[in-house]
């Protein structure tokens, strides 16, 4: 079980990955045995543009300490334009979260192609470290869901 005292803090990280690039990139990092922290749990979505801001907030509500969205590189979207919409929506959402005083490093958007297994692993490693430094998510949590 993950222990959430500040000394031994293990962040919970939700990673939304698009099926065509980033999920395949994650698979590749697996195939190449490139390790990244166990804290990262992947949710498969058809396209990064499927990620509703609701999902991100839901994750924070339920106890996630960081949320990362991964999609195809701009221009490479399987659905031609999905990730362009993602980029606008998520930029604005992250900016709003920042405006509300939520720590910036809890959210991230990365473009990871199916060939970038190594990038996937290093992005996850880095993101987990950044979130770990921030400590548990307290500014956007639902107390009713806090782990005892």
């Amino acid at each position: 079980m993950q222990v959430n005292d500040s000394k031994n803090f293990e962040p919970v990280i939700a990673a939304f990955c698009c099926n065509w690039c980033s999920y395949a990139g994650a698979d590749l990092s697996g195939t190449n045995r490139l390790s990244y922290p166990t804290n990262v749990k992947i949710i498969r979505v058809p396209c990064s543009c499927r990620v509703n801001p609701m999902f991100i907030l839901r994750a924070f509500q339920r106890g996630a300490d960081g949320v990362i969205i991964c999609g195809c590189h701009p221009g490479d979207c399987h659905y031609t334009s999905g990730n362009y919409f993602t980029r606008r929506r998520i930029t604005l959402l992250y900016s709003m979260l920042d405006f509300l005083g939520i720590e910036r490093n809890r959210t991230r958007l990365e473009w990871v192609s199916a060939a970038e297994g190594a990038k996937f692993a290093s992005v996850m490693e880095q993101f987990t470290e950044d979130v770990r430094k921030l400590g548990p998510n307290r500014r956007l949590e639902d107390l009713r869901c806090r782990k005892k």
Partner: protein
């Protein structure tokens, strides 16, 4: 009540060595809804699949979770297996405990913990899965080819050969396109007309092919397998069914000062005209911009001389509507205008010509009957300078950022042909790079240099100045010699960049296909689906997708045809059931979803609804065409009311996954 079966795969030792699979199966057996939780050596093996199938029957399962390798590997395998056992294939979820767990984590305790969470997440999702059925949508067994150049002709012939009806829509009075204007083809130097015109005739005679010349596509509705296309048949003022193509009218027409497009404007034609001798269909067309009868009602000569009584000054544009199963886009290209490049003096000097003009100057059917003469004084040019990359590889708005691909080769061709026919002519080619990737291409270029002694100069021309003595001073740099050259030439030939035809952009909008910033159609995948557009049922043929030479164009045309044939062969199309759908009761009709849909899958209709307050109201609501939707989900986020949801990746499913992960 859910009855879920969990099956944990060892994948030999791939999973089992770092994940305690038995512990995972045990832990997941306590999850709500789980009635059976088992582990097995190789779940994807036949006996593994049988294990799952038997469990489905024995426990009457309503959902299956396989903890194994990536769904990208075996999701389909397990879906098929479950389907065979009578469970809807979309009630299967895969927990990826190999690529995402056993392969990347070393510590067995934490890896097992993570595997349990991934399993739990899949269980949370499968609990909300609904059975999905793939829709079938019928296919109209007819194809439309837009554009009647070599690409369109080839695609049409191939589709027709396979036994399907094809319509070609060509905006000019004849099919043939740019290839009809070309003299010889590289690298074989065979005559373009000799190989193209038989194909044109073949197209006109094939009973499966129907040519709508002098026509344009004005509206496209529908989706893969079932497009409804409105075609505008422009008035040609000649009855196609009556005209025999005898050409008498063109001889008698008093209006003889119309620039002849076919000869790149180097000579004139009449107001009623047949573009060239081998035109298909060979039918006269009246140019309303020049015809005196149409302009001021005075003349009528053609009508008088026509024995067939085909001339009809009262003809109007007509619209016809037809259904098609597949559409092949072959709208082709045009060279860009040299007007913007002042330094090359194109507009100041008639002896600065474009390559296409040179093509006509050298053509036996051209203005000079095949003798190469300067347009200005009809003298034989003794020194000819070719300038490559005019407007290609250009970073500013005068030109195009891409390489036009064909110029290096046709310039070599021109140089070679000139040196062959007129050995006393000196030929210089200014180039940046000579690009010759293709079968026999480099050999061809080397032949021009070695055998025909064409002077290739690495460098660009900076300035072209027409001089009083009729010579043209070409000032350019020779970068290898590091000197500036001045050549007094008699003829300067500009290898203009090519650009997609202007009709392509509005067409792309009608077809809801994507284009790049240069107006080339975007293929569905640059490597793996190069002849399909991202919109299902629309295929790309020829230069409309990117610069190509003739063999490449023909190859792509046939490939596009093959794709279209593959579609037309089917009686119906099975659609991916993981598509968006709108809850009409919640839809506001605001059009946000429509605007983000890359496929044009969303349409609106006004429907009558019984409202919660028991009144009846007509509301504008969205509906998704499942045959067109590809399931990206962009609309689900654009929709503020949440009326749009995506099958297989619904809001509630994803949120359940989030909950399970964060638990």
């Amino acid at each position: 009540m859910n009855r879920i079966g969990v099956f944990v795969c060892h994948c030999g030792t791939n999973i089992a060595s770092t994940v305690d699979v038995k512990a995972v199966a045990e832990a997941l057996s306590h999850e709500r809804g789980v009635v059976i939780s088992q582990d097995y050596q190789y779940m994807c093996s036949e006996s593994g699949q049988n294990l799952v199938k038997n469990a489905i029957k024995e426990h009457n399962l309503t959902g299956v979770v396989i903890c194994s390798c990536s769904p990208r590997m075996h999701e389909n395998t397990f879906r098929k297996a479950c389907s065979e056992a009578g469970l809807n294939p979309y009630l299967v979820e895969i927990a990826n405990i190999r690529e995402q767990c056993s392969w990347i984590h070393k510590d067995i305790t934490t890896a097992t913990e993570k595997a349990v969470i991934l399993g739990r997440t899949a269980i949370a999702k499968v609990t909300l899965n609904t059975p999905l059925t793939s829709m079938e949508s019928p296919v109209v067994k007819r194809a439309l080819v837009i554009g009647g150049g070599i690409a369109g002709i080839q695609s049409a012939l191939d589709i027709a050969e396979a036994g399907f009806e094809v319509d070609i829509v060509e905006k000019e009075p004849t099919i043939g396109g740019k290839m009809a204007q070309i003299d010889k083809t590289f690298p074989t130097l065979d005559c373009a007309a000799c190989i193209l015109t038989p194909k044109m005739v073949e197209a006109s005679q094939n009973e499966n092919i129907n040519i709508y010349s002098f026509s344009e596509v004005s509206d496209v509705k529908g989706f893969v397998g079932n497009f409804t296309v409105k075609i505008k048949r422009k008035a040609r003022y000649v009855d196609e069914t009556k005209c025999t193509g005898c050409g008498l009218c063109t001889e008698k027409c008093p209006m003889k000062k119309v620039p002849n497009e076919f000869n790149a404007g180097l000579d004139n034609r009449t107001a009623i005209y047949i573009p060239f001798a081998q035109a298909v269909p060979k039918i006269a067309t009246i140019d309303p911009n020049y015809c005196m009868m149409l302009k001021n009602g005075k003349c009528g000569v053609c009508s008088k001389v026509c024995t067939a009584g085909a001339v009809d000054y009262k003809q109007k544009d007509e619209f016809i509507e037809k259904k098609y199963g597949a559409i092949v886009v072959a709208t082709g290209y045009n060279p860009i205008s040299p007007e913007k490049f002042d330094e090359y003096a194109y507009s100041q000097c008639p002896d600065v010509v474009t390559s296409l003009e040179l093509e006509r100057l050298m053509n036996a059917a051209g203005p000079n009957g095949g003798t190469l003469l300067r347009p200005s004084d009809k003298k034989h040019p003794e020194k000819i300078v070719f300038i490559q990359c005019v407007g290609s590889r250009c970073d500013d708005d005068r030109g195009k950022p891409y390489c036009s691909k064909i110029c290096c080769m046709y310039t070599a061709k021109h140089a070679m042909l000139i040196r062959e026919k007129y050995p006393d002519t000196e030929v210089y080619v200014f180039y940046i790079d000579v690009r010759t990737p293709g079968k026999n291409f480099d050999e061809f270029y080397r032949r021009a240099v070695e055998q025909y002694n064409v002077h290739y100069i690495k460098g660009m021309v900076g300035k072209v100045t027409p001089k009083a003595n009729g010579k043209i001073e070409v000032q350019g740099s020779d970068m290898l010699a590091d000197e500036q050259l001045r050549i007094d030439a008699d003829l300067v030939v500009l290898a203009m960049a090519i650009e997609p035809d202007k009709s392509a952009r509005p067409l792309a909008t009608m077809l809801t296909t994507q284009m790049d910033t240069n107006d080339f159609f975007t293929e569905a995948h640059p490597k793996l689906r190069p002849v399909e557009s991202a919109t299902a049922g629309i295929f790309l043929s020829g230069v409309c997708q990117g610069p190509k030479d003739i063999p490449e164009t023909v190859a792509q045309a046939s490939a596009a045809a093959a794709k279209a044939i593959g579609l037309l062969c089917k009686n119906s199309i099975t659609c991916n059931p993981c598509v968006a759908h709108s809850d009409e009761l919640m839809c506001n009709g605001c059009s946000a979803c429509e605007k983000v849909c890359p496929y044009g899958a969303i349409t609106y209709e006004n429907k009558e609804f019984r409202m919660p307050d028991r009144t009846v109201a007509v509301r504008r609501v969205a509906s998704v065409n499942p045959a067109v939707c590809q399931g990206c989900g962009a609309c689900t986020v654009a929709c503020p009311s949440g009326a749009m949801d995506l099958n297989g990746f619904s809001n509630s499913q994803i949120m359940a996954e989030v909950d399970a992960i964060c638990k």
